[in-house]
Symmetry: C2
Subunit: 482 residues, 2 copies
């Protein structure tokens, strides 16, 4: 081979590593400095990349230069640029230099953090970072590891809600589901606006989606406590057992906030596991002025938010907190002989394999540690505040154009809007904007109305991008076929 | 702040990025060149790292130098060095320069590959790499994406077996579990040696672990087809429905191979979903001389192996193949409005969110692409062959020392051995070896006997490390208290 492939059994050649790694670093630096130049949404057609690739893996080694050339030529056209300052679709998926470096160090360690002993730092730094974040966001003390609770990193809010549901399922069935299997008698509650990951969790956990109640929402798309109370009563009367309520702080479609204080008190009174999902919005709680959004969180049995969305930490990094860690561990723990060790047997340390579905786990806390220290709490707050201000600016533009309406309360970093026109015209507007390559938005449907979503959260997004996006939207709306 | 934190709303400063990134690269290069110097198993006591960390996140930004200093001072002592050439415990968890770089580029793109449209290259390269690997390993054509099957990357073999089980569950229940919930009438089969992730999957999926049959094994720790046949008949007679059989090619404890041709034919005849788990051993199939280990794989409905164990690709990278992708998608698919798009609606492309539990997913195929191209098929083969030869060398050392016995057939890269002595003496030997810091092994229990496991698979491991490990084992055995 023309270039050293390291490490290998000849040991580790530092210089060869540096040479190869710097070539990729330079390419990444070049990409991130050009990211605004590319069409935000990829313009390739299905199958185009595969058609350009060899049908089989190469027999012999290829040089670094060939890989970098193909990144540029083959991969970039097929990228939808989530790091573009003009990406306003779905939700933000942040990266930052400290996060990239934390993740790289994690890859280089290559440790498996399934047990404390298989890398104590991996487990302890994770517990500690979750406590740091709890402090930074003003979370209730019940979620701290110093008490009966604690936090763990999951790959996503989907996995977090599944783990919470499994703990709730075992509590509601007194451990029967794990031992004997489910029986179709447990009921789960969300709203019509709850994320689809709850549907998926209910299916995966064997509860059956007929047992998922989608409670109606009010005019601001927040769950109705009265409707929840009535549904719980009806289910109990039918001989069913309420298992879990999922309350959302910042729904996917409109960033609506379910009324947690009322819903939480109801769950407490009914003895039902309360899971709170703040996947996107939760990061805002690093700012004291947004902490009131979490009011009522002391009622929660579990809580999730995703630093990989809006806290400069690249995917995957989803925080799951539980008030009673033994409930989670009890639902997920299994100890075969080949994983036994004296530290675990003595209960002297946490083993995070018992807090998640997979056995293996990487050292994800490093990137959080780097982000929290490099930005500092003040850096993170100013970043969140900047995006909220940019979002308000976009909403002001909209409010001054009578062709448009804002269709849901604007919270934090999301604006839901539409032309005062047909669904077809709104869908055509969205497609024209996205096809332009200059910005990327996504959509939802609310009360039968097609709605455009404009979500701010990329690190490079500035006032200029907001103003240019608005100018493009206004101009495009004027040119739509009648 | 003293150093630029990028990217931010002032745009991207290439030079600042390069400066920060190179500082971490240099530290990583230094770590990997020193990895052999550290105690393989961490020697810290529980709580030591946490006691050394501040109780709260910093308010202000800290410099890169502080992070690197703490990596050295605080983190390294808490690392169990999976990349050490003297790590022989559990299973290998490989990294390599091309893999690290592929993962770094993935982090920098920061794309969410949940839908084809959210980055077509992420989806298409993954499908293509899974096809490349299928070709390289000689997998049956039914697992190729050109037919009804295809492959997907999961985080771990645990998640893979859970996804396979969910597909099997829905097939066996005609979709009833997803809709109405489980009923306790489905049965799952493994052996007494099957990985504990099957137990966990059965619990998570709501089937109940009473419905998991652990079929007895023969003297070589392989599942008995006769016992499986008898158990299936008994379950059917009891009115139960067989749902899935999990066959292992290379068990965790001893790398035993269940007799796939016979077991597969039985599953086919009985109409039971067959999942084949070759998490560790599967990578060996890149060598034609080891492909016979996969004989009978055409009977399988799903197949899993982990390049993140023994194919130079860092965690997470677990390959799951299915023969009928619609069975998997049907079990896991949900489409809310906010994820709808014209490409998906037209069925023109795959959306991998429907092949896994989480919604979000990172661009994991890049690291596989880099590994396959930088090493080439021949490079990977010589790497696997080297480890198998080192393992044979270790077994030869053992065979020449009458104090020891090898307690299971040696396959590929694992040797299970023990002193011809009490369990206590063997446990004491293991602890003495691991406490020395010079090597790290793990253990299992077979037929009530405490057994040491010596697993070869780290890229830097060479003949010298094998010979030194053996010398240490032989010498330590001689010095144990009587």
């Amino acid at each position: 081979m023309s270039e050293a492939l390291l490490p290998d059994s000849n040991g580790f050649d530092e210089e060869a590593f540096r040479r190869e790694a710097r070539a990729f670093l330079d390419w990444i630096a070049s990409y991130l400095s050009r990211v605004e130049e590319f069409p935000v949404r990829s313009t390739v057609t299905p199958g185009a990349l595969r058609a350009a690739l060899p049908a089989q893996a190469p027999e012999d080694s290829e040089p670094v230069s060939a890989l970098i050339e193909d990144l540029e030529k083959l991969i970039l056209p097929g990228i939808t640029h989530w790091q573009s300052p003009n990406f306003f679709a779905y939700f933000p998926a942040n990266t930052s230099t400290p996060s990239l470096m934390g993740d790289l160090v994690s890859s280089a360690f290559g440790v498996q953090g399934m047990l404390w002993i298989t890398s104590p730092a991996c487990t302890e730094l994770e517990t500690h970072m979750l406590d740091w974040l709890a402090g930074l966001c003003g979370l209730p003390a019940r979620f701290l590891s110093s008490g009966a609770g604690g936090g763990v990193l999951q790959d996503s809010a989907s996995s977090a809600v599944l783990c919470a549901l499994l703990a709730a399922r075992e509590r509601a069935s007194a451990g029967r589901c794990n031992e004997e299997g489910c029986r179709g008698d447990l009921v789960v509650y969300g709203s019509t606006q709850t994320h689809s990951s709850l549907d998926k969790a209910v299916m995966v956990a064997g509860l059956g989606r007929r047992q998922l109640r989608k409670i109606e929402v009010d005019a601001e798309f927040a769950m109705s406590p009265a409707a929840l109370r009535a549904q719980i009563a009806a289910d109990r009367a039918a001989g069913l057992t309420p298992c879990m309520v999922c309350v959302t702080l910042g729904t996917t479609s409109t960033l609506a906030f379910d009324p947690l204080p009322e819903l939480g008190a109801l769950c407490r009174a009914e003895g039902i596991w309360l899971h709170v999902d703040a996947a996107l919005a939760g990061s805002a709680a690093v700012c004291p002025e947004y902490r009131s959004l979490l009011t009522g969180l002391d009622f929660a049995d579990s809580y999730c938010f995703n630093p990989h969305k809006w806290l400069l930490t690249n995917f995957d990094c989803s925080c799951l907190y539980v008030a009673d860690r033994n409930a989670l561990i009890g639902a997920l723990s299994i100890t075969p002989e080949y994983l036994r060790n004296s530290i675990s047997d003595a209960g002297a340390a946490l083993d995070y394999r018992d807090w998640q579905i997979p056995l293996g786990r990487r050292f994800r806390a490093l990137k959080l540690w780097f982000v929290l220290r490099r930005f500092g709490a003040e850096g993170l707050r100013s970043y969140i505040r900047g995006h909220v201000a940019l979002t308000a600016r976009f909403a002001e533009h909209l409010a001054q154009d009578a062709r448009f309406e804002i269709v849901a309360p604007v919270h934090l970093n999301l604006v839901c809007f539409r032309l005062r026109d047909s669904n077809e015209r709104n869908a055509a507007l969205l497609e024209a904007l996205n096809a332009s390559g200059r910005i990327y938005l996504s959509h939802t449907v609310l009360d039968g109305r097609y709605v455009l979503r404009f979500c701010v959260g990329q690190p490079q997004t500035s006032t200029r991008h907001i103003d240019e996006a608005w100018a493009l939207i206004a101009a495009t709306a004027a040119t739509l076929d009648p």
